[in-house]
Amino acid sequence: MALLEVRDLRVVFQRRGTEPFTAVDGVSFDVDPGQTVGLVGESGCGKSVTSLAIMGLLPSRGNKVTGSVRFEGTDLLTLNDKEMRNRRGRDLGMVFQDPLSSLNPVIPIGLQVTEVLERHRGMSRKAAMVEAADLLGRVGIPDPQRRLSEYPHQLSGGMRQRALIAIALACRPRLLIADEPTTALDVTIQAQILALLKELVRDMGTALIMITHDLGVVAGLCDEVNVLYGGRVVEKAARYPLFADPRHPYTHGLLASIPRLDGARGEKLVPIKGSVADNIPWDHGCAFAPRCPNALAVCREVTPELEAGDVRSLRCHNPVLPGTPAAQEVPA
């Protein structure tokens, strides 16, 4: 049994007077302690909604969550609000995208670290302050004692994200979800934060769900990758087979659209044509069909199922053949 088992997770948003919208459509994956699992895909493919559903943080009204999220055998979706509050911050931690807006602007950093220690570890304010300084030091914040009394706007972006990681890991949760933790940061800082996450996850044996649209992040960090499109997993594989030999046209396109250090000179970057705005629902054929260079007639009629193989699971009628170079743009 894995630490976290997500099975057939489905999130449907339904506002009065609007069509129901399925943001996450039958997503399943496992995460083991010390393992990093990536959720990858373009903006709007349902990454954040998946993580919020796992954390029980979706708004209480206007959506329906089905499937199961088993954490050490307990289905988190069946817990009530109080039980979830006891687990959040203690068993499950989360790091958000924008470090500035994720911190309370009017209270000092120290209080935001001690808050979670007092809440879940029953520490006194004094003991928590000592621990907080220690935690800030451990995530690489210089002069942590002084930082405790500073306000979020006095810290640099990277420093803020370090503080948020310290807060999320303060109670040593067994699962950490990082939702695009580096998107708001400079490139050099991004690398530092990723290295820090990698180190902490290794040292603490924390299971990490890494949410990103950046395949570079995936390549450096994830053991297993789930590629999402339109709320569904389209390809699932370990890091190496995914990068070396992407089989789904969408994954293939994603990889072709990022620069490679080992790429031949003059090799062109090929963007995936269209955008998620072209999304059609999955009920009648493949949602990626309008943008897919491999699309066949059957793609627009029969919805492909996720088929598990030895190395990967794949949802596609006409996968890219092994070793195919980046797809060229097909004339419309």
Partner: protein
């Protein structure tokens, strides 16, 4: 000229720096650099000081009728300035200047009293609506919407008229009631915005107790607009209180020195001695202007968009 300005700005910056670099200090620094804020603050400060020390610096007893002023008092003549009586007498032979001074105190008491009561009640209602949401929110907001739909002066007049005998307390309560829905709406709106903010989501993701989320994460971040509104409300409260007195809905005791009442009583003598109406009116306008300028620049200073 510009270098002088720069030096002053640097000094101000240094001052704010030494006061800590919290958000409040940041706002103070921006306030100190804005001429509008300084004018507003100066007017407000002047009013506060005068209102507080008025009884001690008033050259004459504001309630006493002086023989010197009564001597020439006729229906078509009210004495102007004379030695010992800076602005001359009023329609009953009292010292006009001393009464103007003491009137500041009356306005301050009514303005602050009404604003404080309105603030407390409004924050209770708005805070509850923002913290609980759901049906608590819809019912409380329906209630405030009804109150808001009645023009505030009309509402104040109705409430003041309900009292069998006008008094300063009824004026304070009447004006306070009209400010309640404004404070309630403001705090509720700010708290709802906070409820959907990233840092409240982040705190919730840490399992922080609901109570802590409300009092530590939502409420303190929602106070800015309420503070601004309090300043602006002081201005309208003073005007409304004066209007009620003017209409005879305040304390009927004619000896009281109160700008609205003075304005009302001097109406009949507007041809004889226009200053009797002019000075109280100017006083009300200047004070209201001071609070409004201060409030508006506070709003600007607290606006997160202006944060560096």
């Amino acid at each position: 000229m510009t270098s002088l300005l720069k030096r002053k700005q640097q000094r101000v910056d240094a001052l704010a720096e030494s006061a800590g670099t919290s958000l409040a200090a940041d706002a103070v620094r921006r306030m100190l650099r804005s001429p509008v804020a300084l004018i507003g603050a100066f007017l407000v400060l002047l009013f506060l000081v005068l209102a507080i020390i008025a009884p001690f610096i008033a050259p004459k007893d504001p309630y006493q009728r002086y023989p010197e002023l009564l001597e020439d008092l006729r229906p078509d003549f009210i004495p102007g300035p004379m030695p010992g009586f800076l602005l001359g007498g009023d329609e009953l032979g009292r010292d006009f200047f001393s009464r103007l001074l003491v009137g500041a105190q009356q306005s301050l008491i009514v303005g602050v009293g009404a604003t404080l009561i309105g603030l407390v009640l409004g924050m209770l209602i708005g805070g509850a609506a923002g913290a609980f949401g759901g049906w608590v929110d819809s019912w409380l907001m329906r209630f405030t919407d009804i109150m808001l739909s009645i023009p505030s002066l009309l509402l104040a007049i109705s409430i003041a008229a309900l009292a069998s005998r006008g008094s300063q307390t009824t004026v304070i309560i009447a004006v306070a009631v009209t400010t309640v829905p404004i404070f309630a709406r403001l705090l509720r709106g700010a708290m709802l915005a906070q409820r959907h903010s990233d840092h409240v989501l982040a705190a919730t993701a840490l399992g922080v107790r609901r109570r802590t989320v409300v009092f530590r994460h939502m409420l303190p971040n929602s106070l800015g607009p309420v503070i601004v509104q309090s300043t602006l409300t002081l201005a309208t409260a003073i005007i409304e209180a004066a209007s009620l007195s003017f209409l005879g809905l305040g304390d009927p005791d004619p000896s009281r020195a109160e700008w609205g009442l003075m304005l009302g009583n001097s109406q009949r003598y507007i041809d004889v001695k226009p200053e009797l109406a002019f000075y109280p009116a100017i006083a009300i306008i200047i004070v209201a202007l001071g609070f409004t300028l201060l409030g508006e620049s506070l709003r600007e200073a607290l606006d997160p968009k202006n944060r560096r």
